[in-house]
Point group: C2
Chain length 435, copies 2
Amino acid sequence: MSSEVAGSQMSIGIGLMGLGKVGGRVAKVLQDRSEVIVQQAGCPSILKKVLVHDPAKKRDIDFHLITTRVEDIMGDPEIDIVVEVIGGEHPAWEYIKQAIFRGKHVVTANKEVMAKHGVELLALAREHEVDILYEASVGGGIPLITPLRQDLVANKISTIYAIINGTTNHILTMMSKEGLSFSPALRQAQQLGYAEANPSDDIEGRDAAYKLAILASLAFHTIVRPEDVYCEGIAFLDEHDFRYAKELGYAIKLLAIAKERNDSVEVRVHPVFIPAEFLLAKVDGVYNAVQVEGDLVGKMLFYGEGAGALPTSSAIVADIISLAQKINLKVKGSPWPLSSYCKTITPISEIETRYYIRMSIADHPGVLAQIAKALGDHLISIASVIQKESEVSTQTAEIVIMTYPAKEKAMQQALKEMEKIAVVKEIASFIRVEA
Amino acid sequence: MSSEVAGSQMSIGIGLMGLGKVGGRVAKVLQDRSEVIVQQAGCPSILKKVLVHDPAKKRDIDFHLITTRVEDIMGDPEIDIVVEVIGGEHPAWEYIKQAIFRGKHVVTANKEVMAKHGVELLALAREHEVDILYEASVGGGIPLITPLRQDLVANKISTIYAIINGTTNHILTMMSKEGLSFSPALRQAQQLGYAEANPSDDIEGRDAAYKLAILASLAFHTIVRPEDVYCEGIAFLDEHDFRYAKELGYAIKLLAIAKERNDSVEVRVHPVFIPAEFLLAKVDGVYNAVQVEGDLVGKMLFYGEGAGALPTSSAIVADIISLAQKINLKVKGSPWPLSSYCKTITPISEIETRYYIRMSIADHPGVLAQIAKALGDHLISIASVIQKESEVSTQTAEIVIMTYPAKEKAMQQALKEMEKIAVVKEIASFIRVEA
């Protein structure tokens, strides 16, 4: 590898896997900012090969660099760093493993691979004395991985509240500001290019769950798998909920939440009511924000564009420069970010929070008493109730209840009993409240 | 130095200079978090000596560590890292220089020393193959120096808008929310411990100017001295200004502003009107927030507690761990954060912005025409005017003008001419507007 060549003329070879929007931008930044990179890294970083699917496609890049053969990157001794921007689990995961086996450092923007296989890849990299950096996998260009691995490392982190999916935040912003219901808000996001044709990974919360698994693993020095993250999407939300939220002084956001209590970690992604005066409640559109609470730093928030080729390339090139510095200084290895033992995951039934419940009821006397009893039987106290005048034609009223903190398990049992009450026509929404 | 001892039993020796609130907390964190530090740094970091002024004072620390002799730290071959938390220019600056000369790495929280002498100290450190880290010098525990030196390094940064003085932000928050005028708001901040008995460094903007010089130097890879920063304080602000700001849809904040245009850097600290919907407008109380705009990342904001022993210790211990890692890996040197050539500083007369002007005028016909003429003669256009009904007893009216963007030089000339208009009794406030 070129890193073993001594002297000041050394250069770092880059192999780029994937030349979509992000890959194309990374290639351009490496070229346009070569002066800054030399100054920061101590030597030039040269793009040696670019792996693409379709070599015939017209591209804004020297065609000598283009290849369709993975081995052209893996087998090139002049390539020190492999940058993976293919996305998705396969074949990206296999390529990353192969790169590490061949003694190459890796920079990846791949949330799915890092969430599912990050621990194994970090261990493999350590074994082979290379690094795998993945700042771009969460929050685009917002520094999150570095702060958790480095700047905040003296802290005991207790809580992460994160808006880390721009698509859903844009949809929720439209529902809140324009009074749209879910389907037209989704369609609008799709027209603007903020939501994919098949948006299920975003709107069902899986994309956020991947990112939360990555952040929580680092914050709590443990192993959090995507399947550990309790996940609910936003498709059930209704414009009524936004109206009540406003009336009660709240905003509705899809939050990725991670908390540690007594060596047990709770990780969940679902819509929540948060007080309207919280800074997080003011994060609108496709912007992301991650609030971290540590015992020394207190509450801290990182805010910015969470996706897109430009912000993502900012994080990737910063990772490349970090690695180039280390290669240039002949440094091997980096501190292990996780703890040696695994903390337990708190099941969703054991979490404790407040709840918002919206239901349709038959407009009869004594209904509220029956609902209050179902809650009271499970030791859940009502904090406030809104009941508007009923619709005469259907003799149906809408009632909204905010509870005091209660265990999820008790709440779920109470909900089941409330469903059985004859006068309760429908439990339309059930949303957790964080304050 | 102990860093030259090979093998896994190596430890890093720390010499602490200053044992006030911050120093005391750093000592405690080093002790309480020793396990995390070993895991992250690869070896223990041991507090070897603590320099204090008064050795007789009762302290929560092993008295064997206490010394009043600087040489006990400088001359101790087992001390690898000197942590300076004395504050102020002297003797901290001399101590830091001495530590570097003796081949010791330095961690400092000293904004004044880093703003005034940072470039020279960084150069001196490079010469002696040691590092000087200063994350704690700006924004308490909020990662700012590392993001600018590392995470955002691929970006061309165009703008920094920073609320980096908690004292003034608390005072302005009280004036805005409680309708207080300046003096009672300052007194309240003093009673709460948020303002010092002599608060002039804070309220005149000098504290923010030090911090801005540090941030702008890194962001623009140039040398910005504290005396380059144009500086206005907040003492002239009046509760009337807050009422008009609200009416016009703005908040008033003391912003530290840095912009680069065509290789020229403007740096200024003064009260500004910013649109109420900006996230920065919602940063209240003693919290700090720094908004950075880069060509790749777009707008990004870092928010958190900007001062206090706990957040500051978070940044200092993170810097200690970074250095311990490097010492343990036998890495020497780090990338030079500044450019080799110095950009020019844009004089305040050359900046262009919008303006808010509040004045008392005699309630005569034709006054507005005279004012509009004074502005128009300097090619300044009026965007909006508010004139409320006049006070009958004094026959004085208050008039508020918002302008379109104009050069500061033209504005200052127009102001001089407006002062000469007989019916203009007083130009009470003149505040720049950023949007």
